[in-house]
């Protein structure tokens, strides 16, 4: 297939995939491309065009808890690597990209060096016990059944936003090995 056309096709898919309805939708939520709400904000092109995320979700927490994780399966629809270098959420003072390092029975999460690269045509899974986007210093509760809008920034400066349902989840309690933050 013509690579140029591939990228163009996928950029449309990425556009449509930016906002995922929280739920109620079976198929809608299982593939980002199928959900196409009106008025989706445009990404700034570049690597963001190749980005999509399937089944994103956020662990519900109170502002008092202070921090939580964002999960889902990221896909790169282009034939070049894309790298997520940072992320943002309106109610989080700080957002970091984390990995989890397991030593014996102890799982410790820490900021990952070099962001989240996604290979050409590849996927990267953000999941409890593994890579995730960490929201810290929350200024409001993230309540179950609400939606959280997360913006990710790529190495080339392009950005993409997606909406993820907030769900209760008992796991994702790794100790945080960072400066000035206690485990959550």
């Amino acid at each position: 297939m013509n690579p140029t056309r591939t990228v163009r096709t996928l950029s449309v898919a990425a556009l449509l995939g930016l906002t995922l309805t929280a739920c109620g939708g079976g198929g809608a939520a299982s593939t980002a491309q199928e959900t196409a709400p009106e008025g989706t904000p445009s990404p700034a092109g570049g690597q963001a065009d190749a980005f999509s995320i399937t089944d994103p979700w956020v662990k519900a927490v109170s502002a008092e808890d202070g921090m939580t994780g964002v999960f889902g399966e990221i896909a790169n629809g282009s034939d070049a690597e894309i790298v997520i270098v940072s992320a943002d959420h309106p109610a989080a003072e700080t957002v970091e990209l984390h990995e989890v390092v397991t030593e014996g029975a102890d799982a410790t999460m820490r900021e990952i060096d070099g962001g989240f690269p996604v290979a050409p045509g590849g996927t990267r899974t953000l999941e409890p016990g593994g890579d995730h986007i960490m929201l810290m210093g929350l200024t409001e509760d993230l309540e179950p059944g609400t939606e959280a809008t997360v913006t990710v920034e790529f190495a080339d400066g392009s950005t993409a936003a997606f909406t993820a349902p907030v769900k209760e989840y008992a796991g994702a309690n790794e100790e945080y090995d960072g400066d000035g933050h206690e485990g959550h």
């Binding site: 939708g25 809608a28 299982s30």
Partner: protein, 400 residues
């Protein structure tokens, strides 16, 4: 050990000898390691799915699956209409995924979700939930049934704000779905009760066989047939203009059967109590299971063949609108305490007060079966219409 091995060897040897004797062609095929003849593409029942989305919720017309769990919840005191909306969006999403044989979002045991086995998830709203959202939207019939003399109701199995009926042909599937839905309900509700029931296992009987209850009776013969105009009229609120259009009403009653005293009855007495033959469920006046009972037929002594106190006689009124659709399950609890067995009587009808209550009144007045059954739990729910993909059950009430 040695004897076991030799016995196994003997069995295998015998089997091989049998094959050899059965036919040279087959024996040859095996001997030369040719692939065996292409077996029919067997579809595992565990892979079968029932669509969650549609104008009506699944789990009503769906041919009853082997296992059911009815889980009831009350809303937390602080949960408002927006909270109910968020809850129903989460639960509808879980149901849509699980019924497709996919894990729910954030499913901690995704592998348990891969055997749908005709899983259906059906939501019912109690009076408390509808009042919380919009007191003006409560249907007249959505309230506790009137008191019946023979009932001995335990409030711990009574009315609740939200019911989730989960049915599948596999009990592990039911367990996983109930747990997953319960986790997403946790932030909004407190559990009230869960009642689980069963029918014959999938594949044990031909599809469409009327179930037997644990008293041994064919139970549910006179039932409107899904897909017929009669069923639609009796069950679906198709002419309703409000939020329940396309929905229905559910009466769920826990009926204890007193099997020890039932055991004292000989077969003729059991048949007289019901008015049907135990063997095949046919009316005592003859014919097959689905033939009409002749309530006027008399025997040689001039007495009616179906006694005045018989269940079949008492369960019908003269009004054809006073009929219901039964979709019950047996239950049998023996793990601890006094054993309790009975029927989770689940009946769907457009208007429980108009359709179910007159029948139950007649049974309460006179039905010899009352000697061996006692209703100990009773609840009424409004079952909202189904939803399309991307939508959620309850939107017609929550975002009219």
């Amino acid at each position: 050990m040695a004897s076991r091995i030799s016995r196994r060897g003997l069995l295998l040897g015998g089997a091989a000898a049998g094959v050899g004797a059965a036919g040279g062609a087959l024996g040859h095929r095996w001997a030369t390691a040719d692939p065996p003849p292409a077996a029919e593409e067997a579809v595992l029942n565990g892979e079968r799915t029932v669509p969650f989305h549609g104008p009506h919720q699944a789990g009503v017309e769906t041919p009853p699956q082997s296992h059911a769990s009815f889980a009831a919840f009350d809303l937390g005191r602080e949960v408002d209409a927006d909270g109910v909306r968020r809850l129903m969006r989460l639960l509808s999403d879980d149901a849509a995924r699980l019924t497709r044989g996919e894990p729910a979002l954030a499913d901690t045991e995704p592998e348990l979700a891969t055997v749908p086995a005709r899983l259906t998830v059906t939501f019912g709203f109690g009076r408390g939930l509808v009042e919380r959202v919009d007191p003006g939207a409560v249907p007249e019939w959505l309230r506790p049934l009137p008191e019946f003399d023979h009932d001995d109701l335990d409030p711990d199995r009574g009315e609740a704000d939200l019911l989730i009926q989960v049915c599948a042909d596999d009990p592990v599937t039911v367990s996983h779905a109930v747990r997953m839905l319960g986790k997403d309900a946790q932030a909004f509700t407190v559990p009230r009760w869960t009642q689980t029931g069963f029918r014959r296992a999938h594949g044990s009987e031909s599809d469409g066989t009327t179930m037997r209850n644990l008293m041994g009776q064919v139970d549910g013969t006179v039932n409107p047939r899904p897909g017929t105009a009669d069923f639609d009229d009796l069950v679906w609120r198709d002419t309703d203009q409000g939020w329940l259009a396309g929905g229905t009403g559910l009466v769920l009653r826990r009926i204890v059967t007193h099997l020890d005293t039932w055991d004292e009855l000989d077969r003729p007495a059991r048949e007289a109590v019901i008015g049907r033959r135990v063997a095949d469920g046919a009316p005592l006046t003859g014919g097959g299971e689905h033939d009409e009972v002749d309530l006027t037929a008399t025997d040689a002594s001039g007495l009616t063949v179906v006694p005045a106190f018989a269940h079949v006689r008492r369960a019908r009124t003269g009004d054809p609108g006073e009929r219901i659709f039964r979709r019950g399950y047996n239950y049998d609890l023996r793990d601890h305490g006094t054993p309790e067995a009975g029927l989770l009587f689940a009946a769907f009808q457009a208007d429980p007060v108009r359709q179910f209550v007159p029948i139950q009144r007649r049974l309460d007045e006179l039905d010899l079966l009352n000697e061996w059954v006692t209703t100990v739990g009773s609840a009424v729910f409004a079952v909202p219409p189904g939803c399309e993909e991307g939508d959620y059950v309850g939107r017609t009430l929550l975002e009219p």
